[in-house]
Symmetry: C6
Subunit: 187 residues, 6 copies
């Protein structure tokens, strides 16, 4: 059902790529903010590693707020809720790190992310982007869904060789080592 690119871009929504038992899939990650006091809510049957990954992304943003041009006090005045449908399917792993972080940044900067972009990559507290698994399957899923730009960890560059030329030539790949390069690519 997540096979097709959305027909529009929307603040707080970013397309991720997951690797499941039945192959790669695209994931529509959604984040909203509300007047509040700094609560971070994570739903969609996310496992511990995925929750820690989201928390790591939030701390990256909080500790870099000034440099990222974000109001340093956002954390005191907002509650943030991040949800990944379908709500009944368990999800885990660190590979949605940069996607979740981008969704929250989209919210906080009020800038949408183009709907033809998908991404995957583990994030660390200081914004480093670490390699992840399932690149081939994820890229195929992105291609099937009509995605035209895929953001990947630089350290996964070699994994692209396994993908057939036909698919590769229809996609633009952006290889990143740091969250700042993700930001530059999507906003």
């Amino acid at each position: 059902r997540y096979d097709k690119v959305r027909d529009h871009e929307e603040v707080g929504m970013v397309t991720g790529l997951a690797w499941t038992a039945v192959g790669g899939v695209t994931l529509e990650i959604e984040a909203v903010s509300m007047p509040g006091n700094g609560k971070l809510q994570l739903t969609g049957q996310l496992g511990d590693v995925m929750k820690e990954s989201a928390q790591t992304g939030v701390s990256y943003i909080r500790s870099m707020a000034k440099e990222l041009g974000i109001n340093e006090d956002f954390y005191k005045n907002l509650d943030i809720h991040l949800h990944i449908p379908e709500g009944a399917i368990p999800k885990d792993g660190p590979s949605a790190g940069i996607t979740m972080t981008t969704a929250i940044l989209s919210l906080l900067t009020h800038q949408p992310v183009p709907q033809y972009i998908a991404m995957t990559g583990e994030i660390t507290l200081t914004g480093r982007v670490l390699p992840v698994g399932g690149i081939k399957e994820k890229v195929l899923a992105a291609h099937r869904a009509g995605i035209t730009t895929v953001i990947l960890p630089k350290e996964n560059e070699r994994d692209l060789e396994e993908i057939e030329k036909n698919v590769r030539k229809n996609l633009q790949f952006i290889l990143v080592e740091n969250m700042k390069e993700v930001i530059k690519a999507v906003f």
Copy 2:
């Protein structure tokens, strides 16, 4: 025992549709509010997925409050309790998402939902309505209970073909892609 439509409409009450081991059933979802400070209480032996689904609905409302014509501060001044009888029967899954969200909206806008309407559909944070399972069984249960209007996810449209004509012609189906279409249909 939930076989018959209520004889009146009441603020905070909405009829949902569930799919159980023994077929489809109707569920009377109830929500009340009390002077409080933003606590959300969920009872009726609801599983994790169902609780996350209710929380997602609440965040949808909170983040859209202004647009939905709801006092943005409702969350600071009220406690909300949502209960699904029968209290001893375990319930789970995301398919009551739009029903629970509608019950809370009914509360907050003081508008009842007509008792002859039933609905099913997963909700996301941004109000998208995702398809759910068991459409045929759920529609039959609605029909047996005397429901005349059923709200379903647009993506479940094809599932209606499995239902026999006799039943179908006695029901009005409203297919929705977004929570806003649910709101337009019931209030």
Copy 3:
């Protein structure tokens, strides 16, 4: 040991009826209030369903406070403790819903419930009374204990036919569909 009716009525005490492996029993439900800030304490080895049932009763009272003639602020100034002896016996199920709600209402209105009344029934958030199991066994236990009036869900009316005439003629049955009928019957 709970075989005999108490010899007096007392604010906060109401007799319930439970259905156990060894037949029906009467339960003395007790509630007390203390200066506090809205804490609800539930003891007596109550299971999850029973705790949710008590919480549902409290929310019914809180959301209806004005209509029930109760100070709307009671929840801010009191702690309520509800206990069901014997403390070592695990108890569960929704059928003490109206009994627990009545005990708390007795506390809040300072009106005792006559000791010759016993009751059983599931309560919902909006005060509907739903049918419960074990009616025959519960009525026999009430009769043995010297109870003269039994309050039951209207939907359980047919279950009374299973009880032998001899017992039935010595008891007054009050069949209720809504908590308001319980209130009218006991205060």
Copy 4:
């Protein structure tokens, strides 16, 4: 090691009686209070039923404070810690209810309980004293330890007949139906 009566009485200390796999034993229950804000700490490897029993005793005292001549605000200004040595031995059951309640009352009224008194009995929220098991074994343990007065639930009166005359004549039994009778007997 708890075989002998203490050589003095002390505020906050009361001797209980427990029934274990190896027979009856005496238990020295200790309670202390500290400037605080109403926290109740329970240690000594107490099981759930025993903890609920202590909480029930505290709520009895709080809801009856005025009548018992205790400063109604004690709960706001004190933390209470109740501990039952030996700390490594798991303990459970409701039968220390009146003993724990008496220990806390001793603290709050600054009156010691004579060291030659031991007691056993379940307490309810309204101060009723319910019967408990193991009376014979508990009384023998009290006698061995040098106790001269044993407080028991009135409903356990018949259990005293099982105890041999020789032991019985050396002990004074106080049979109680309500916590107020315990209070009258010990202070």
Copy 5:
């Protein structure tokens, strides 16, 4: 590695004695305080009984503060952290009660405990010292480590007879019934 007495005394550090599957060992118990608000942190893989034992010691100190010459408000202005290395080894039981209590008292009175003293004993809320197991093994471990003074529960006196004379004559034993005797011996 804990085989040798420290070469100096230090506020907050006290040597305990534990009895493990492989014999007796000495334990360096450490406590530090920080500006805070009364939080007690316990680390070093301590089991439930050991944590309750530390809490019992803290309540003893809090309830006796005035008598012990300690600022009654310490609990409001400090956080206390007690840690028992080695951090990966699970520890449990009540026998470090007086040692943990002494470490915290050392902190609060700014008085070190001489490094040639080791101790073992269960503490109760009112400061009673109860007997513990493994006396022989613990004393041997103390001796091997170069300890010269061992504080033990009075009720363990008889256990000293099992220790060979050669060891006994090189150690001073202080037998205690109450925490006050421990305090007199170490400060």
Copy 6:
């Protein structure tokens, strides 16, 4: 992937050494701070012992703040998040104690730790450094990664003899007994 030394030093990042089923590895420990109120967040699938080790390091810093030249109030005004990638790999044990403590000290003093330094050692509350396992494997991993200086517990000195000369001569070893020696070595 963590085989190579970073190409630069950065405040809050310190290289640790871990011993896994497949040999030694280097770990990039990262810490960031944010305006906050003293929350310590620990992510990267850290086990209980490792979390207690981080808490012990934080308490060491808090209780020594003045002596370490750190603003004593840091704990009231900052949240600290420490993360150890890769986020999906479970990690445990006390041997990253000095590394995590150093990362937080780097943050609080705004001084980076040279990227060619790696370290391992258990920390206690008073700053003692205790020996750890896997020294040989850890040193080899450090060497492979291009580390030139390894900080180790003094009590592990003998373990260095097992490492072949060829490796040893290319590395500087700093043997420490106390956290203060680590601080002197890295800042």
